[in-house]
């Protein structure tokens, strides 16, 4: 079912849905950007249409909704383990096709890798409905088309923003909220067909230990400063570290939680006793690159990177991940389709 709604009507629908769902979307936060007088666009809870920022790529991905930056796994009181209370309220997320494809990668790690499912992720994941933001033109540094992540069918509703709102509703549970709020039209979302940036993917069968030891990684040993921003803005970086804390006020109580971790950041591989791996920043770039465009596919059958380009947007050293992929491809040859 597809409808055309006025912006006011769509806003009413959101307010109505807000009773049943927490609604997350990219929002503009004034003056909180990386440089003075710049804004940051990141995910936050919204209550109306005007709060949603769709003219700019969200600087951070929506992964924090499913995989929070820090998440309590247990509360401790006198040594007893207690799971946090479960919030029943369902969730709607406004996001672009690349990010919906990114969720497939998170699902792979948290739900499919190994025999156990990560229940903290699963409980959030089950509550989420995707409202896909139609994305026809993309932004600087996007290369979703090359990564085959520009299209998706996995959405509850798809939305074209404009003076009037066009909405395709796939999820029957949403029909009530939209019914009689607009007129029926023929609308199906269009997907971007060409980005400003293109990458050629490598033939992963030709990636060998020599590729790992190639001189191309030395450049990154010089340029990368191991800040980890590329990891933290990435839609598909899913690593985390366990942390226990005792509360200052009452140190017989505390919690065990997990926090995002990044393979570029110092300490990622350090073990008690002092052994660690990849001290060289070039090796960290190689490790991340290989995960995104080589070993994830060898394990799961498709590439991890979705080409959102946020890593290139955020790198303070202007390292381009898309250029790096192209360099690997130049080294080993192009993927055979």
């Amino acid at each position: 079912m597809s409808l055309k709604l006025s912006r006011e009507a769509f806003d009413d629908v959101l307010k109505d849905l807000g009773k049943e769902y927490k609604i997350y979307a990219p929002i503009r936060i004034k003056g909180e950007g990386r440089f003075s007088d710049t804004d940051v666009v990141r995910y936050g809870e919204v209550s109306g249409l005007d709060e949603i920022e769709i003219h700019e790529k969200a600087h951070f991905s929506p992964k924090e909704i499913l995989f929070p930056i820090t998440q309590t796994l247990f509360y401790f009181t006198e040594g007893e383990y207690q799971e946090p209370k479960y919030d029943e309220k369902k969730i709607i997320v406004f996001l672009r096709p690349c990010d919906i494809n990114g969720v497939t990668r998170l699902d792979q790690v948290f739900l499919e890798n190994g025999e156990d499912k990560d229940i903290y992720y699963e409980r959030l994941r089950e509550k989420v409905k995707f409202f896909m933001i139609e994305c026809i033109e993309g932004f600087d540094n996007c290369f979703c088309v090359s990564m085959d992540a520009n299209k998706t069918e996995k959405y509850a509703a798809a939305i074209r923003f404009g003076d009037d709102m066009l909405v395709e509703i796939k999820d029957e549970a949403l029909i009530n909220a939209f019914q009689e709020k607009g007129e029926f039209v023929n609308f199906e979302p269009t997907f971007i067909q060409e980005n400003l940036v293109n990458v050629k993917l490598p033939d992963i069968e030709q990636i060998t230990t020599e590729t790992f030891e190639d001189d191309m990684w030395k450049e990154y040993a010089q340029r990368c400063i191991a800040c980890g921003r590329c990891n933290f803005v990435c839609m598909t970086c899913s690593c985390w570290t366990m942390q226990d804390i005792a509360y200052d006020e009452n140190n017989s109580s505390g919690e065990r939680r997990r926090a995002w971790a990044g393979c570029h950041v110092d300490g990622f591989t350090d073990m008690a006793g002092g052994h660690g791996f990849r001290k060289n920043y070039g090796d960290r770039m190689r490790f991340k690159t290989m995960h995104k465009i080589n070993d994830f596919k060898k394990r799961n059958g498709y590439h991890m990177c979705v080409g959102c380009g946020r890593c290139d947007d955020v790198c303070p050293e202007y390292i381009s991940f898309s250029s790096c992929i192209n360099k690997v491809t130049k080294l080993v040859g192009e993927e055979r389709k």
């Binding site: 790690v109 948290f110 190994g114 690593c239 109580s253 090796d283």
Partner: protein
């Protein structure tokens, strides 16, 4: 829904001081591991860490733990009757049946002896199941030697050939001095399809020990190693132990050398 991160509470039965900084904890528990598997050990409000199971029996497991961090510092103050929290066992473990009926060579460096100790004890008690066991054990110095009582017992086993060495001796030490690679090179180990080699220890020791065996015409597929990596989950989610497309917690920590040599951190 089952929460895979929820540990169980277990009571400490015994604490043996192996060295000043290595204690062996015996814990009453229903975990029935395979040789070479590990557990996630935690103390609420302090933290959680992956720990090898050094031995096990009916209703208990042993873990030999060096005091090197927050969790292990706390642990070393615990006594019999106190509790710790465990989840697991995790990892693949050694293929014990594959070694039966063969000549087994084990090279262990430092705390690397812990994950293979249960195998040595198994074949010590079931000597008829093996043609022979050559054991090369290296420690930094005499005061770092772990499991001395057990090593002395193994030395009495007729089917065992035990070489104990330290990197650096002291005025009381009359035994071997030097790296285990040097003692391996002196042994009459060579091309033998009925032989299996296990190497466990620090990364550099494992690398050079493997090269020493390869020099002696041992085939790559006859060599087994056990890896140690940072891990937060033990179940393939946290990403710390991943090497290429391999998760050490899921497909390891034990690898055949044909696989291990291709794993580049």
């Amino acid at each position: 829904m089952k929460n895979p991160y929820l540990p169980n509470k277990y009571m400490i039965l015994d604490v043996q001081h192996q060295t000043d900084i290595d204690y062996t904890f015996r814990v009453a528990c229903d975990i029935a591991p395979k040789n070479g598997q590990f557990v996630e050990l935690s103390i609420p409000k302090i933290g959680e860490a992956p720990i090898s199971i050094s031995d096990f029996g009916d209703g208990y497991i042993d873990m030999t733990i060096r005091r090197v961090g927050k969790v292990t510092d706390y642990l070393h103050n615990l006594r019999p009757g106190d509790h710790m929290y465990l989840r697991g066992p995790y990892g693949n473990g050694f293929p014990l049946d594959h070694y039966k009926g063969k000549r087994l060579v084990i090279a262990a460096g430092g705390t690397g002896l812990a994950p293979v100790k249960s195998i040595i004890n198994y074949f010590h008690q079931h000597s008829q199941e093996i043609q022979g066991l050559d054991l090369f054990i290296g420690f930094k110095s005499p005061k770092d030697i772990l499991f001395m009582d057990e090593i002395e017992n193994w030395m009495k086993n007729e089917r065992f050939n035990v070489v104990l060495t330290v990197d650096k001796g002291d005025e009381c030490w009359t035994g071997n001095v030097g790296l285990i690679t040097q003692y391996i090179s002196q042994e009459s180990i060579g091309k033998d399809e009925n032989l299996e080699v296990i190497i466990v220890g620090p990364p550099m020791m494992m690398k050079f020990t493997a090269l020493e065996f390869l020099k002696k015409e041992i085939l790559e597929n006859q060599i087994w190693v056990s890896f140690e990596r940072k891990m937060s989950c033990g179940i393939g989610k946290c990403g710390h132990c991943k090497i290429d497309e391999t998760y050490v917690c899921l497909e390891g920590p034990v690898f055949n050398y044909t696989k291990a040599k291709k794993l580049i951190d």
